[in-house]
Amino acid sequence: MADDLPPVLSRLLTPAAPPADDEPWAEFVRLHSKLLLHVCRSLGGGHDAAMDRYAYLLEQLRRDDYRRLRTFVADGRSEFSTWLVIVAQRLCLDHHRHRYGRARSPLGDGPAHEDERRARRRLVDLVSAEIDMAALRDGGTPSPEEEFHSSEAHRALESALNQLPPRDRLLVRLRFEDELPMPEVARALGLPSRFHAYRRLTAVLAALRHELERAGSGRPVQGLARPGELSVSSEWHERNDHDTL
């Protein structure tokens, strides 16, 4: 397997290298320091914080005779640098937790820190806002019957969201819960362009609308594109027109 490793890593991990010989490690650091520093800086906090992370990162990578580096499997599924970015991110997160505990994360405070039920409700609320659930009512103060219908529609939406295929559910979460711009949603899902992401999201929301209507609102829901329409809401395009893929 060592033959498949990147040469620098192979030299570093080969037992033939005398333990006192720091040259392979120096070579490894020389080759990857830019990437590792890039990861450290990406988490913010200024120069000192980045250098703290960098020092921790190097210490952890070198620890126990390069234990973490030895876990890299050169099976051709990814480049070593891609794997290293993931590991470096995780180590930076560990560093943050060691220093500040689990309450705060350099990645931000997300739904994972909230009650799972509240997180789901939030997603439903966000999607509801996008598809204009108020359109289910005729305007003015909702009557008890209208409130009941609205509540039923929310429940139906939550149920429909939970039943989406994993990839579509991920798309909805990236867009509404993580509030990523569409080019970034496309990248996160490995789609060729934001237009592919738009098309898929349009289809998903059309399916949700269908599910809502089927669940008994019996009324068209504004803000949801019919199947075949390119866009769901002009607001999305306005929000993302400045984005480039």
């Binding site: 990406s42 499997v73 599924r77 997300g110 994993p166 819960e177």
Partner: protein
């Protein structure tokens, strides 16, 4: 610690997912996890951002470098440079650049005369809806202006002042999300006297 947390994807799996090489059933399983696991989702989002902006990512550098090299060949070659029919587009192909001919120029064609008041540059779309980067250089090869677009046409801003009766070069590089790049190679045009 997340690195060894059971129930979360391994670094290898996430790296394979980011590389697009995770088999479909495993990718489906991973996406199911990501849709319900905010920290892992942030890892993927962060990983994509970092890989896209990594410092020794030379994807963008290689194509302009190739185009610049071609430009240098055109400029240094004895005799009239950049005549129609012996264009650098072919030279790029001969040097083995990936699919150089797949990015075709529409206007201005090689050697055309263009208006100094801001000619529009048009090329044919490459596969994969890539991001295009267009560069205009003077006859010494010095870059005068660079612009990015996802469209297949670009008009330089009025602030770019081109001299009348002069020769300029332009080229477009396309980069898709898979990191594949194609180029028109350097094209020349003249400004009206």
């Amino acid at each position: 610690m997340i690195l060894s947390d059971p129930g979360h994807p391994s670094a290898e799996d996430l790296a394979a997912y980011l590389s697009g090489s995770l088999p479909a059933p495993e990718a489906l399983h991973l996406e199911s996890h990501l849709s319900d696991c905010w920290p892992c989702r942030q890892e993927v989002i962060g990983g994509r951002r970092l890989l896209r902006s990594r410092p020794y990512d030379r994807r963008w550098l290689l194509v302009p470098a190739a185009a610049a090299a071609v430009l240098a060949l055109v400029l240094l070659r004895p005799g009239p440079a950049g005549e129609p029919g012996d264009g650098p587009l072919r030279a790029v192909g001969q040097q083995g650049q990936e699919s150089a001919r797949t990015l075709d120029v529409v206007s201005p064609a090689e050697g055309d005369t263009a208006d100094v008041g801001g000619p529009s540059f048009i090329w044919r779309a490459a596969r994969g809806e890539p991001l295009y980067r267009m560069t205009i250089a003077d006859r010494t090869g010095r870059t005068l202006w660079t612009g990015d677009t996802s469209d297949t046409t670009l008009t330089p801003p009025p602030s770019l002042r081109l001299d009348r009766g002069s020769k300029y070069f332009w080229y477009v590089d396309a980069l898709d999300v898979q990191g594949r790049s194609v180029t028109t190679g350097a094209q020349s045009f003249h400004t009206a006297p």
